[in-house]
């Protein structure tokens, strides 16, 4: 599903956030991406959704070479990927429901379909009762779950999550990980960036460990 081949990424500041990273995430596989703060986890995820481009090396996602992808194709690429952002990226000028419905509206789904899918997604993250609220009135953990609902609402083939349990208590964190596991069970590829080592160590998934932008082969 994802393949990094000797990928380096240098920000315009000159800082090299990723150094010769190579790995593969198989279709239907789930893995954790860990490492200290500033190790390059978010940067790696940004490369997958083309928020940034690799300075060197090749990135493949869903058998497409991202180096060759032109900007016209990027929206369609992103629609295949559900992303839970570290900073939520929610819109505070509309309700929780509208936030979660956004990917479906963009995808051109029609009204009834949108309603059904949005409620199903909100139900999964336990926020069905808050659909009409503005996300600004939710707790940080609840906002994070709105972000998760939005990421899964159009049943993407690849799910990326950047610190999805960052603001959640241990019990909720375990629930959310369980949710990702469920998705993985139905064939969705999942990559979760997290430094919640406690939680990760209890789960049976492969771990990719970043250190100063380098991928350690054995984490």
């Amino acid at each position: 599903m994802i393949s990094f081949d000797n990928v380096s990424m240098r920000y315009h500041t000159g800082f090299e956030a990723l150094k010769q990273v190579s790995f593969r995430l198989g279709a239907g596989e789930m893995a954790f991406l860990t490492g200290h703060s500033g190790a390059g986890k978010s940067t790696l995820l940004k490369l997958i959704i083309l928020m940034e481009r690799a300075s060197q090396g090749q990135v493949w996602v869903d058998e497409q070479n991202l180096n060759r992808m032109v900007s016209r194709q990027i929206p369609f690429h992103r629609r295949k990927i559900g992303v839970v952002f570290q900073n939520h990226q929610l819109l505070f000028d509309r309700s929780v429901y509208e936030n979660v419905a956004l990917p479906l509206k963009i995808g051109g789904f029609d009204g009834d379909d949108i309603g059904r899918r949005v409620r199903a997604a909100l139900d999964k993250v336990g926020l069905l009762s808050k659909e009409k609220l503005n996300p600004i009135r939710l707790s940080s953990g609840e906002q994070q779950r709105v972000g998760i609902a939005r990421a899964i609402v159009n049943k993407p083939k690849l799910l990326l999550a950047d610190e999805p349990t960052g603001n959640l208590d241990p019990e909720l964190s375990a629930d959310i990980m369980g949710l990702f596991h469920q998705f993985n069970q139905v064939g969705v590829s999942v990559l979760v960036a997290s430094h919640d080592l406690d939680l990760i160590s209890r789960l049976p998934y492969r771990r990719l460990v970043l250190d100063q932008g380098r991928l350690l082969t054995h984490g």
């Binding site: 928020m51 869903d62 058998e63 929206p75 369609f76 819109l91 051109g108 789904f109």
Partner: protein, 328 residues
């Protein structure tokens, strides 16, 4: 995808996605409708700011429109005047009233002349009093300074400028005629002035149209700036450029429509006001004059023009400023 690993190769998957979007035409139309409504709601949520922008645009539309409508009517009037090609023969002071009448009757026999009208000195004075409004002042004069005149209306077949000129020369040579005045020179001058004023109106219209474009463009630019976060988020979850542009283009559409309607109201009011003043002035001259207003075709084309400018202004802003907003 685990089950169908070969389905998604290369550009094939992007194309497949487009087909899927086509299948969801209902959702696509629904989104257009939704954006149409929500962009209007946004404008109405800030009525004062919206009204100010609309007023600026409407004034820019009104000015050249009123000019063009007025000039259109003025031109019609000048054609009427010109078409008449009437001549005034001032008679020798020594000519008696009976001789004048006889000359008038004799002139009608000329095939180039359709009709004549003899006005004695007294008639001329009476008419002058009525039109000039100097009635009382003229009464102070102890004798009538005006000559008798014969008004000559040329035959319909002899109204080309050259023919009229020839006829005038001919009549000038007739005994008893002191002077022939062909009322064409000032009509021609009026026509030239109207033509110039019309080009001026178009130039003005062009400049003000450009101004409108900039007003909409700048308003939309601010709107884009205000909605930067939203643009970033929708791009992150897969919005195409068209999707991101849509609300702003519809906003431009509403600005254009609103400004067009407002301008129409302004124009009607102005014409109503000008109409009464003008008809008093014009009533002093021969021919009929009425401000015709925009008419349905005029109103529609102005509305269409306004909408076009609104959308074009929005498009300019969108093209210039949206590309700069990328999620980072």
């Amino acid at each position: 995808m685990a089950k169908q690993p070969l389905r998604n190769s290369g550009r094939g998957s992007a194309e497949r996605h487009k087909v899927a979007v086509g299948d969801r035409g209902r959702g696509y139309l629904a989104h257009h409708r939704e954006v149409l409504v929500s962009s209007l709601q946004r404008l109405l949520a800030e009525p004062l700011a919206t009204l100010m922008t609309l007023m600026v645009m409407a004034i820019a539309l009104t000015l050249p429109s009123v000019m063009l409508v007025g000039l259109q009517d003025a031109q019609g009037l000048s054609e009427q005047w010109r078409g008449a090609g009437e001549m005034t023969l001032f008679l020798d002071a020594g000519l008696s009233e009976a001789e004048g009448q006889a000359l008038s009757a004799q002139l009608v026999d000329n095939s180039q002349i359709a009709s004549t009208l003899y006005l004695s000195k007294a008639d001329a004075l009476a008419e002058f009093k009525q039109y000039s409004g100097l009635g009382d002042t003229l009464g102070l004069l102890d004798h009538n300074p005006l000559p008798a005149v014969i008004l000559v209306e040329p035959d319909a077949g002899y109204r080309q400028p050259q023919q009229l000129q020839q006829l005038a020369t001919l009549l000038e040579a007739v005994d008893g005629v002191a002077e022939v005045v062909l009322d064409l020179a000032w009509v021609d001058r009026l026509r030239a002035i109207i033509a110039f004023a019309r080009s001026l109106a178009w130039v003005l219209g062009g400049l003000l149209g450009l101004g409108m474009l900039l007003v909409v463009g700048n308003t939309i630019r601010l709107e884009i700036e205000n909605r930067r976060d939203e643009i970033v988020v929708v791009k992150l979850v897969g919005a195409t450029d068209a999707f991101v542009r849509r609300p702003f283009l519809y906003t431009g559409f509403w600005y254009g429509l609103g400004a067009g309607l407002l301008a129409w109201c302004l124009i009607q009011l102005i014409l109503l006001y000008l109409g009464t003043t003008l008809s008093e002035l014009i009533g002093l001259y021969p021919g009929s004059f009425e401000l015709s207003g925009l008419g349905i075709a005029g109103a529609l084309s102005m509305l269409l023009f306004a909408i076009l400018l609104g959308v074009a202004g929005a498009w300019l802003a969108v093209v210039r400023h949206l590309a700069a907003i990328e999620p980072r």
